[in-house]
């Protein structure tokens, strides 16, 4: 082989081997890095500092921080951690760098406010974030919606929720349901129908998979709550009619003229427990239900999202 061919062959081989090695090593390295994890995701806590440091490339930095936020949350959520201390600062930095990054506000509304393990448990900061967004984007109705959403779901301040929806409904091109929601807050805040309306709205209007999935789970759980409430009422009525508890689910179903044994959204039959309680067969499949669980039931630290979109 001519010397040049030999050099070529050797260099090509070196190239192939070293390239493969590099790729393998890169995959490996993350496990070895010193407690990098999530502290390093932030480096600096202050949005102002970051804004200064980004030398005018705010948009790019905002994108980078947004990517980190999503990764951070996903990573933790599916590993079952129960604290999301860095979520608020991450969102604050992202929106400080780019006040028009709407996905960030949406994300904050869905995941900053709820209690762990479903969120960071910081509704105040979530509200702060929404107000910041509204201040910079007064014509975006979705921000008002998000604000009302937080007041309704976590803070349970229906008056403030109504106000928020009302403010939003005045924005040009606002979605019509804002007016409806404002009205319902005032009168029927505790209704299942209201909750369903709210979560359906979130499901319809969001484009982020995480948020839609979250909304879907809530809708399933609302269904369960509603079913259990109705079945529980049926048990009470049965008791009033017959003076005893129904012996089985089928007896209750017949008495209520139901087409068959009632089932939950997963197709599993509701169960009648000894004292006349209606129970869900697998409460762990419904992370947000408030009814149909046995006494002393604690939701799992690691919520399982069953539905896939």
């Amino acid at each position: 082989m001519s010397p040049r061919r030999r050099t070529t062959a050797l260099a090509a081989t070196c190239l192939a081997i070293s390239m493969t090695a590099c790729v393998l090593l890169v995959r490996h390295v993350d496990r070895l890095r010193p407690v990098v994890g999530d502290q390093d995701v932030l480096y600096v806590d202050s949005p102002k500092m970051i804004k200064r440091a980004s030398l005018g490339f705010d948009g790019l930095m905002a994108c980078i921080y947004w990517t980190r936020t999503v990764q951070y949350f996903g990573h933790r959520h599916y590993n079952g951690t129960t604290s999301y201390n860095e979520l608020a600062p991450l969102l604050e930095i992202t929106t400080a760098l780019d006040p028009h990054m709407f996905p960030a506000y949406e994300f904050g509304a869905s995941f900053l406010a709820p209690k762990p393990p479903n969120g960071a448990g910081q509704p105040d900061r979530a509200i702060q974030l929404m107000e910041y967004g509204i201040a910079h984007n007064p014509d975006n109705w979705q921000l008002y919606y998000n604000l009302g959403f937080i007041y309704y779901t976590e803070v349970k301040d229906y008056k403030k929720a109504s106000e928020a929806f009302d403010r939003g409904s005045r924005v040009p091109n606002a979605h019509p349901f804002l007016k409806i929601m404002a009205a319902r807050m005032a009168e029927n805040a505790g209704d299942f129908a209201t909750a369903r309306l709210l979560w359906s709205a979130t499901f319809e209007t969001s484009k982020q998979t995480d948020i839609r999935q979250n909304a879907m789970e809530h809708l399933r759980c609302i269904q369960v709550d509603e079913d259990v409430t109705q079945l529980q009422d049926a048990v009470t009525r049965f008791g009033q009619d017959t003076g005893r508890l129904p012996a089985s689910m089928s007896e209750l179903a017949t008495a209520e003229h139901l087409p068959g044994i009632p089932v939950d959204p997963d197709g599993e039959a509701y169960q009648l427990a000894a004292e006349g309680r209606i129970l869900v067969q697998h409460p762990e499949n419904f992370p947000f239900i408030t009814k149909g669980t046995p006494p002393g039931y604690k939701p799992a630290a690691r919520p399982k999202f069953h539905t896939t979109l």
């Binding site: 010397p3 040049r4 050099t7 070529t8 260099a11 090509a12 070196c14 190239l15 070293s18 390239m19 090695a21 590099c22 790729v23 090593l25 890169v26 995959r27 490996h28 390295v29 993350d30 070895l32 890095r33 010193p34 407690v35 990098v36 390093d40 480096y43 980078i64 990517t67 980190r68 999503v70 990764q71």
Partner: protein, 258 residues
């Protein structure tokens, strides 16, 4: 063969040492270390932090600039100025030329880093008045910075072998910046789908992984760095440099020197 590589390497080293740009940049870096002392004095308790952070960042940044400035002269300038003709008319193989240049430049940067590192330690001693055990981490950080330099040198050579001095500098510097965000690039790749995902993932893996080599804030917080990571990074730097140099050899071997 080995002798020729050594001769080329030492000549490259000599060239670097006589290049006035080098001294200006080193002086500037040392100045920055000094400035770190002043900055640190503004806020109590974090003087150490500032000195280490600012000092090591200066070493890293200026080293990269030096690596690129001198690196672009490695092959591009030689081709432009035709100093290469008389070298290649001798029994020097083209690959020996590339490898010799690499070692020469690497050697220059190691010596550089040594002097700039002294500056950092000097500044640290000034503010802290003594060294603590965890300060040995600074040596590891400096070692990783040298590994970064090796990678940048090899990239500068790779680009030099086929493009003009200016373009090589631009490419090399861009890869440095992108490589510093390698983590984010991989995260981004994970969020995309389809064809974009393939491209982004490919890019994310081929870009030099400077995120893993940057332990400046870790060291500033006096955290320790595992031996495994040190070995791993060393291996990575060697493999990456080999990859870039192999590419450089393959390209340069075929190049018509007009």
């Amino acid at each position: 063969m080995n002798a020729r590589i050594a001769y080329i390497a030492s000549n490259t080293f000599r060239e670097a040492v006589r290049d006035r740009v080098l001294y200006n940049l080193i002086a500037f870096a040392l100045l920055l270390s000094g400035a770190a002392i002043l900055v640190g004095q503004i806020s109590i308790d974090i003087e150490r932090l500032v000195v280490i952070n600012l000092g090591l960042t200066a070493v890293s940044l200026f080293g990269v600039i030096i690596a690129i400035f001198i690196g672009i002269g490695l092959v591009s300038k030689e081709i432009e100025k035709r100093t290469l003709y008389t070298v290649l008319s001798r029994p020097v193989r083209r690959w020996e030329f590339i490898v010799g240049k690499f070692f020469g430049l690497a050697g220059t940067l190691v010596v550089n880093t040594f002097f700039m590192g002294i500056g950092v330690f000097g500044a640290l001693l000034y503010v802290a008045h003594k060294f603590a055990r965890p300060d040995a981490g600074i040596l590891v950080a400096l070692y990783f910075i040298i590994l970064e330099f090796l990678i940048i040198c090899s990239l500068a050579l790779l680009f030099s072998s086929f493009s003009s001095p200016l373009l090589s500098a631009v490419f090399a510097f861009s890869l440095f910046v992108i490589g510093s965000f390698a983590d984010d690039l991989r995260g981004f790749a994970g969020l995309t789908h389809g064809f974009t995902r393939w491209v982004a993932t490919g890019a994310a893996y081929l870009v030099p992984n400077f995120s893993a080599l940057n332990v400046i804030s870790v060291v500033a917080h006096q955290q320790s760095i595992g031996l495994q990571l040190i070995l791993h990074n060393t291996l990575y730097a060697l493999c990456y440099a080999t990859m870039a140099l192999s590419g450089a050899v393959l390209i340069f071997d075929r190049r018509n020197l007009k």
